[in-house]
């Protein structure tokens, strides 16, 4: 129990005495995760739109697979990305391994299925509502999707936040492809793993609390900006 308390105290001091190193890895965490989030969104949302709007032969199958891929084990994703980016792998020449880019790639792979599944869930609700109208205006597939994505934007927030959360808290994959190199690819989660390995639980927890505080803060801001949960808004 003592560790928990020490952790909280340390976390507090780390934050108030704007610790340079902490700041560095915290910012790297944010940079990697947010980049991954943006890229993932650009893939997942249109995908979700297609799944909601198109009725193609393998639709149910694709949806099932997508849901299943939410269970992609980070370690495996990490390995696959590693194997591909490794010097002896197909994309080895780019020397991306052990760089933030590699971490971003891994995170994108991990959160796309999650975001797509959640987004699809909200979109099909809305699609059932809009179906007749949009058909009657014989809009193109593209327009359908844009309309849905736009009018469901508040619901899509959940998808984005889930993706963000999954990415910022993830360690298995980025540990493998990032390598947790000091001053290069060390982020909050990998630092926590390191301290845990050292048995320095208090510090590990401290970093953990910092990470949690960070995510909470970000979520709050988004919610307030998004004006969600207000009466009569969507």
């Amino acid at each position: 129990m003592a560790e928990l308390w020490n952790g909280l105290v340390q976390a507090f001091w780390l934050i108030v005495s704007v610790d340079a190193e902490l700041l560095e890895i915290a910012l790297r965490s944010l940079h990697v995760t947010l980049t991954a989030l943006v890229i993932a969104a650009m893939i997942a949302l249109p995908l979700a739109g297609v799944l909601a709007v198109r009725r193609f032969r393998w639709r149910r199958f694709v949806i099932a697979v997508l849901n299943a891929l939410m269970g992609l084990p980070p370690v495996v994703v990490g390995l696959i990305v590693y194997v591909i980016l490794s010097r002896s792998g197909p994309l080895g020449v780019f020397g991306l391994l052990f760089t933030p880019t590699a971490m971003i790639i891994a995170q994108v792979i991990i959160i796309v299925p999650l975001m797509a599944s959640i987004a699809h869930q909200s979109l099909r609700e809305l699609w059932q509502e809009y179906h007749d109208l949009l058909i009657s205006m014989n809009v193109t597939e593209g327009q359908k999707m844009r309309t849905l994505l736009w009018d469901a934007r508040r619901a899509l927030l959940t998808a984005a936040l889930a993706g963000f959360g999954r990415a910022i808290g993830e360690v298995g994959a980025i540990m493998i492809v990032g390598g947790n190199i000091d001053h290069a690819t060390r982020v909050l989660t990998t630092a926590i793993a390191l301290e845990t390995g050292r048995g320095d639980f208090a510090l590990a927890l401290a970093l953990g609390f910092v990470l949690i505080a960070l995510t909470v803060a970000i979520n709050m801001t988004i919610h307030w900006l998004g004006q969600t949960e207000r009466d009569g808004r969507w």
Binding site: E3, S86, R87, S88, G89, G92, G95, L97, F98, G179, N180, I181, D182, A184, L194, T196, G197, R198, G199, D200, F201, A202
Partner: protein, 245 residues
């Protein structure tokens, strides 16, 4: 880039050496802290320029297969047997490492094994072999956790179990709980670290010059001073034993 074992990194020696290396040679060494097996795998794939590990057999094989140009011994530290302070198996009184382990076996006291083919794990297996007992026949008290040194120590402290650890990791370990150092000093427990520069013929992008430069530095008197001089809670951790060449 150099891949090193957890045990080396945990020692904290790296934090001393790297800045010096940077100052003297201008090399910016990036450490990848992984298990011995993974370290060698990384070297094999050419994802690192050099490897610093402690598992002689594996290293020789690595060189033999031509993944590394050669193997250069740098320094050694030693393994210690950790266990619950009350020491149910009476390990503390043991004469040799082998003896201490057989005591654990006899008492069937919980024992945590790395179980991940790391240098430490191979050392442990070697010792078991000498005791003449076969690990396969051990039952529940023998726990192969298959994890890094730190994780293994955490598990041990959680279980109040015995565990074989390198001295560095142990001294740096924070979450000791009831654990304490019970047995040390048997020469068989010495733990040789060696430097393996990855073969540039296999991987063109590997910078042979720099790896050589680093090797030179690591074997230099300067390094010797630093390594021998490095102490943790008053104890010397590593002994420099590179043959100057």
């Amino acid at each position: 880039r150099m891949a090193v074992t957890t045990s080396f990194h945990n020692s904290g020696l790296a934090d001393i050496l790297l800045p010096e290396i940077a100052r003297d040679t201008g090399l910016e060494v990036q450490l990848l802290v992984v298990g011995t097996g993974q370290a060698l795998a990384l070297g094999q794939a050419g994802d690192v320029d050099a490897v610093l590990v402690h598992s002689k057999a594996a290293e020789l094989a690595f060189v033999a297969e031509g993944h590394a140009t050669h193997r250069r011994e740098i320094m050694y530290n030693d393994f210690v047997l950790i266990g619950p302070a009350e020491d149910p198996a009476g390990v503390a009184g043991a004469a040799t490492a082998t003896d201490s382990l057989s005591r654990v076996a006899r008492a069937e006291a919980p024992f945590v094994s790395r179980g991940d083919d790391s240098g430490t794990h191979r050392m442990e297996l070697a010792l078991w072999a000498q005791t003449g007992l076969s690990v396969e026949q051990f039952d529940a008290w023998y726990k192969a956790v298959g994890a890094g040194m730190g994780a293994a120590l955490n598990t041990a402290s959680g279980l109040g179990a015995y565990v074989l650890s390198d001295r560095a990791s142990w001294l740096n370990f924070g979450n000791r709980g009831t654990l304490s150092l019970l047995f040390e000093g048997d020469p068989v427990l010495f733990n040789q670290y060696a430097y393996l520069p990855v073969n540039p013929e296999r991987h063109s992008h590997v910078d042979a010059v720099q790896t050589a430069q680093l090797e030179a530095w690591l074997t230099s008197p300067r390094a010797a001073a630093l390594i021998n001089g490095y102490t943790l809670s008053g104890q010397q951790l590593f002994v420099f034993n590179a043959t100057p060449g």
